[in-house]
Symmetry: C2
Subunit: 232 residues, 2 copies
DNA sequence: CAGTGGTCTAGACCACCAG
DNA sequence: TGGTGGTCTAGACCACTGC
């Protein structure tokens, strides 16, 4: 017979409760897996699963030999789900619209070239597009694409499918980074986004790489009042 | 002997590579755990561990009976680590400073009362504080604390330890949410933060709950030019 | 060196749900 | 209702690291 004792979920919950109740205090060493397995009447692997989950959540610190301790400074992790823009708008039950403003091969400015580690005589594909929700400006996409690494994008009809969406579907990447910031609307951005110059806008900069090769770098400027939510 | 075949990590990497190489295409059904276990010469549990990890990363969709498919729209998740402000500044090798601007019990405005689901005659502890990096304004903390649920905070010396830090160390919570946004500096905020009125500032609003009880709600306004980074 | 977590195995039962 | 993933077990070896 299997499954006589606790499930790893129930052990997870019990341990979390003990941490919350300060039965085990921050920094304190909790019993080893073998001891807990005996207490809960289950296999050590089951305890391991529960404690591993709690460690991933940042509630426990685990080290071989040293044992398992309640995290002193529980790292608060917020997991942001970054959807395709179209889906984000459709999930709000709004009608998605899209307008390609600009698309041409050109030499990127120095700061872009430096970040993407592109040779000085190399051109990139510059794309500007506006994403609309219910006909109103929602997001301004300003992007540089390394088409030498992604030649297929030159064949894509970017007036129908956004570069954002094309890349998600067609450009596997191995890594990258994201930066969130606030920026002040320039006159041009304000006109495009239908706000006043100087308005505070939420922006995301994203760069993605495949190995050592930069694929794309994008600045996504959201409309005024946009908020990005997540649960913790 | 154990550990003769592949490790779950190596299987994880192989499968990820196959997805990236389009050996298994988006939406496609991949072989079952038993088949893969045979192919890799390991136990099914090992394959399970690898595939579970990939599903958590959003690369696979798994369903009982239906099998495992390559995710059609790989959800891009960004994990934000939200540190204690002091640690964030110290990790930049800057000197942390802190100034308590305001601390008193008072009735919260309606929108705060509504969000926190506080009875209309209930007072909360209102705290304003400025966090400094190398003596310059870094973050403005504007917070409401439900001291009825956290009576100990009334005994804390918030002119030494920030409410932010006190709460992290002393207030276990079961849930909450975070919103990121951009806002325009009011005259008062601009004076405190040393910027011009109207400057675009990055802001985080956080609320935390223990069960059904709201513990605290905070608006954290960062200095001009602040960027929040994370890898993907 | 010895104790702890990390992992793997072979086998088993079960929950779910598409067909 | 049968196939698939989800989980549990008892036992084992290993890797890391504090003492």
């Amino acid at each position: 017979m299997a499954d006589q004792g606790h499930s790893w979920q129930s052990i997870h919950d019990i341990v979390r409760q003990r941490i919350q109740d300060r039965y085990w205090k921050p920094g304190e060493l909790i019993p080893g897996e073998a001891d807990l397995a005996e207490e809960f009447g289950c296999a050590r692997a089951t305890v391991n699963r529960a404690l591993r989950q709690l460690a991933e959540s940042g509630l426990l610190d685990r080290k071989r030999k040293a044992g398992t301790r309640v995290a002193l400074h529980p790292v608060r992790k917020a997991i942001l789900h970054i959807p395709i823009v179209r889906k984000e708008i459709e999930e709000r039950n709004q009608v998605y619209g899209y307008a390609l403003l600009n698309r041409k091969k050109m030499s990127p400015p120095d700061h872009v070239r430096a970040r993407m580690q592109i040779a000085s005589d190399t051109k990139l594909l510059k794309i500007e597009a506006l994403h609309l929700a219910d006909g109103k400006p929602f997001l301004l996409e300003d992007r540089w694409v390394n088409f030498h690494a992604l030649p297929d994008i030159l064949k894509a009809d970017l007036s129908v499918t956004s570069a954002n969406e094309w890349l998600v579907m067609n450009a596997p990447f191995t890594g990258g980074n994201i930066a969130f910031s606030a920026l002040s609307a320039t006159k041009r951005v304000a006109e495009l986004m239908g706000t006043q110059p100087g308005a505070a806008l939420f922006a995301i900069e994203r760069s993605t790489w495949e190995g050592e090769t930069a694929l794309t770098e994008a600045l996504m400027v959201y409309g005024e009042g946009y908020r990005m939510y997540t649960a913790i």
